[in-house]
């Protein structure tokens, strides 16, 4: 093990020892329960571990942990709300049309990946893209629903595609 990595681990241990319970109680206030808070705090430290080069020069460790922690918290809530929407939609579906139990997890994972991919798009743009791709609506129909011009719809579509294609593969 190289010296640099050993040093990082040393710093991480210190960081963990000094700030873990503080971070966990911060997360717990936002999540309302200990278990999710403990999970997210672990994830936060794992993220920090994955970028050891920062640790050496960490001057405000709590501010840094909070930045990472908040990002994870937002993702956590997005996943939760997607899961809820998914379960609700499944429950509302006629039995015959609902996916089989083994398809359900795969489908949820696909939807989560798509949700993450589309994250950050303006709501109108996202909606136009979904209507076009999922429901097969034409630009004229989308324009009518969104009360914008067809030209704008085309611009939205290009924006959405560009956003998705910029993800590093």
């Amino acid at each position: 093990m190289s010296e640099a990595v050993a040093l990082s681990e040393q710093t991480l241990h210190g960081l963990y020892r000094d700030h873990r319970s503080w971070l966990e109680s911060w997360l717990q206030r936002r999540l309302g329960n200990r278990w999710d808070a403990a999970d997210l705090s672990q994830d936060t430290f794992l993220r920090v571990l994955a970028s050891p080069q920062v640790l050496e020069e960490l001057r405000e460790p709590r501010a840094y942990l909070l930045t990472v922690g908040k990002r994870l918290l937002v993702n956590f809530h997005k996943r939760r709300s997607l899961e809820r929407a998914y379960l609700d939609a499944l429950a509302a579906m006629p039995e015959a049309l609902a996916p089989s139990p083994e398809q359900r997890w795969l489908l949820l994972e696909t939807l989560q990946a798509l949700d993450e991919l589309l994250d950050g798009l303006a709501p109108q743009v996202r909606r136009a893209f979904l209507w076009s791709q999922l429901e097969g609506l034409g630009y004229a129909d989308i324009a009518g629903r969104l009360q914008v011009s067809e030209r704008t719809v085309k611009r939205y579509m290009a924006q959405a595609y560009e956003h998705c294609l910029l993800v590093e593969s």
């Binding site: 991919l117 630009y139 993800v167």
Partner: protein
């Protein structure tokens, strides 16, 4: 998720994206398609990003549309509120509802009423939240834990274990730690469960429990119909009316509820179809939108007397 930020990658993605947007428009000419072929063949990186785009489109085609729409187009409000601690009340009441400003905070007994086109919300003394849709009248007696829907439509959210009983003429519904939407029309009543479980006791027939997503309609002749609805679709509580392939006549009758004055239409228009999501606050605008998508014109004699007629074929 990491997104490429170098100018070259951006430019490449932008070019591919504008091709894709053109293709999806259905208006690409044979010449356009030929130019696209050229572009793809000109550089392996072009072809590579094109393949990625194809992969994305493929993935979007494999998910069941209804399910995927419900998940990926879920209401933004719930995502936003979830970030703010998932406070139940905030979730139930959209931002535009200024509860405490409209009535004293603690309402125990009251006769509440809304005018045509008006909507308002009230926070009750027991912490429950009551929203009144257009042209609605409610009598409230919290000491008796009772509420009577005289006419119109309400949404009621009870967060306490102590239930509230709502009388709606054709029966009663008991709501405890649940949220319901109730609508009383001349010949029928409709109960929709937005959260939790409620007990319904029809004036005629057996008592029954309704769950989240259930919708029960009771008619004055004693009959009833059970169904399901989509609790996540935007509705009057969001100031919206969302319809999918609805007959125009039915749609206009719904719009009339929110519109002072008289709204007429030619019988021939009854079965035209309407799809879309409309803002209830401006029914004039809704009618204007209809003329843009359907072969109809609006004739207004006065602000309160409006008729829709079939558009004459011109030229």
């Amino acid at each position: 998720m990491i997104r490429a930020s170098n100018p070259e990658a951006r430019q490449l993605a932008r070019t591919a994206a504008s091709w894709l947007a053109l293709l999806d428009s259905g208006r690409a000419s044979a010449e356009d398609l030929q130019r696209l072929e050229h572009w793809r063949a000109a550089d392996p990186r072009h072809e590579q990003i094109w393949q990625r785009a194809e992969g994305l489109r493929q993935r979007l085609r494999t998910v069941p549309p209804t399910l995927a729409m419900a998940c990926l187009d879920r209401p933004a409000t719930s995502r936003r509120t979830l970030l703010k601690r998932g406070l139940a009340l905030a979730l139930l009441v959209p931002g535009g509802w200024l509860l405490s400003q409209q009535l004293p905070l603690a309402v125990w007994r009251a006769d509440l009423r809304t005018a045509v086109g008006e909507r308002r919300g009230v926070r009750l003394a027991d912490g429950s939240v009551l929203q009144l849709n257009t042209a609605t009248a409610v009598d409230l007696d919290l000491e008796q834990h009772r509420l009577t829907l005289v006419e119109g439509e309400i949404a009621l959210s009870v967060s306490r274990a102590q239930p509230l009983t709502v009388d709606f003429g054709l029966g009663q519904v008991t709501v405890g730690q649940a949220q319901v939407c109730l609508r009383r029309d001349a010949d029928r009543c409709r109960i929709c469960v937005l959260q939790g479980t409620v007990q319904v006791r029809p004036a005629q027939g057996m008592a029954l429990a309704l769950q989240y997503g259930d919708q029960l309609t009771l008619y004055t002749d004693g009959s009833g119909a059970m169904g399901r609805f989509d609790p996540r679709a935007p509705d009057w509580r969001d100031g919206m009316l969302s319809v999918d392939n609805q007959p125009l006549g039915q749609f206009l009758r719904e719009i009339s509820r929110y519109r002072p004055g008289v709204l007429h239409w030619e019988p021939g228009l009854e079965s035209l179809r309407v799809t879309g999501t409309f803002q209830l606050d401006d029914t004039d605008r809704i009618l204007a939108l209809l003329t843009a998508s359907l072969p109809v014109t609006v004739q207004s004699r006065t602000r309160y007397w409006t008729t829709l007629v079939a558009r004459k074929q011109s030229a």
